[in-house]
Assembly symmetry: C2
Homo-oligomer: 260 residues x 2
């Protein structure tokens, strides 16, 4: 099957419609596509422009989240199959609530009330990155612990950006691991510690990309650090997440779940 173009058209950022298109299409094995996101299609004129582009693309499919039925109608004139999440889902919700949907009533994002909290969390997570500011660990919602390059920083930033969680991260250095003890400043915060671990080969590959040929990046070194870290986690009852096959979204969701 040849690769088809899937347009994801939104009157806002396009984040939701792209996620829906990805999810739904992942259930069609063998269907190969390349997605093009058209965000901020928030007028009939812009819908007309998008429709022109779609009509010029042979075999295109369209996923959309357009609140304005008029814009949706214009988009449909492109002639491509169109799946609008609102059109397909809202009627069922209307029936359940006994209340009609009001197109354009709201937007998912915009200056959400949690914006400040999320930005404050990002600032905290940067300030408490990589063992900086151990005196501020008491402010953390979560403290990620693990060896170098195991994915602590991106995970902390993702949790901060998305969920407004204040997430510190603290590295387990070879010195610390040789002492076979948790860094002292972590002992007061055990319930909020989460260990991250990885498959040794994968950690080695990540380190190699940065310091090719170094001892630091060698498989035996990675393996021994990970084994020592996991032993420490087990001894202190720190929950551990093996992130080898996980996306940052999945790691974040698992960690959030562990907070409940």
């Amino acid at each position: 099957m040849s690769t088809r173009i899937v347009y994801c058209v939104s009157d806002h950022t396009g984040v939701t419609v792209e996620a829906v298109a990805k999810s739904v299409l992942s259930q069609f094995p063998g269907f190969e596509c390349s997605r093009i996101v058209l965000p901020f299609v928030d007028s009939v004129e812009k819908a007309r422009e998008a429709a022109g582009r779609i009509a010029a693309t042979p075999g295109a499919l369209v996923f959309s989240t357009l609140t304005d039925p008029a814009a949706r109608a214009v988009l449909r004139e492109a002639g491509a199959p169109l799946f609008d999440a609102f059109e397909l889902i809202a009627p069922a919700v209307e029936a359940a609530l006994g209340q009609p949907a009001v197109p354009g009533a709201g937007h998912t994002h915009g200056m959400a009330p949690d914006y400040e909290a999320r930005m404050a969390a990002v600032n905290f997570s940067l300030a408490a990155d990589d063992g900086l500011a151990p005196q501020r660990l008491a402010e953390a919602d979560l403290i990620l612990v693990g060896v170098s390059r195991v994915g602590k920083t991106p995970t902390a930033l993702y949790l901060a950006l998305h969920f407004g969680l204040a997430v510190a991260n603290y590295p387990l250095t070879p010195d610390e691991l040789a002492r076979d003890a948790l860094p002292g400043c972590l002992n007061a915060h055990l319930p909020r510690l989460r260990g991250l671990t990885l498959d040794p080969a994968r950690l080695a590959a990540i380190r190699q990309a940065r310091y090719p040929g170094s001892r630091y990046a060698s498989l035996p070194q990675c393996r021994s650090e990970l084994v020592a870290a996991e032993a420490l986690f087990a001894r202190h009852g720190v929950p551990v997440l093996d992130t080898t096959r996980m996306s940052v979204e999945e790691i974040a969701a698992r960690l959030r779940q562990s907070l409940k």
Copy 2:
């Protein structure tokens, strides 16, 4: 209308189903709800557990993205109105593609092939945060410029985490603004510069939270920095985004759009 509980049930992270629930419900004005995400409901047993919790919640609504029809059926036994995005959207896609959906065929996330690129982008964006590493600006896909606390860092990290874009950010300090010239290292990269600006009152509020009562956080100071920065942007033809009423998702989508 009283606040109702909306469960967002997913066999994976729950990111997509929560976004769908937010989007759809934003079209029902006056409907107040509080969302509970139940991620990783990936077996009939877990669906049964979720159904028990839902059944015990009066007036609950359920949005779901469950690929397994058996798990969906169990969830439906809770008796609450259930809107499954796959169930509602997939039939239309099946008809258009002439191919049946295969439940459980794929997941949106998992170790996506772009994972490494996104992590590399985060590392770059951290290395090139706040004017660090000016010698690496040539590697940047985008360079965000603006006064202190205008939102450069969270925006850069969001773009890196989500889209694998290498985004540097460079502050315009009062000294630089007094010289009325762009920092020299930016001149070679004009096409990739994007200015961020804010309403002065909002910037002042953000700075006040950090340095209450300071001159730095005063409204006149914020206003004069922003005016000077905007004049610089205009003189060099740097596209400017006023982020006052935007979420980080929206800022990111606008900046991405400006790259095309």
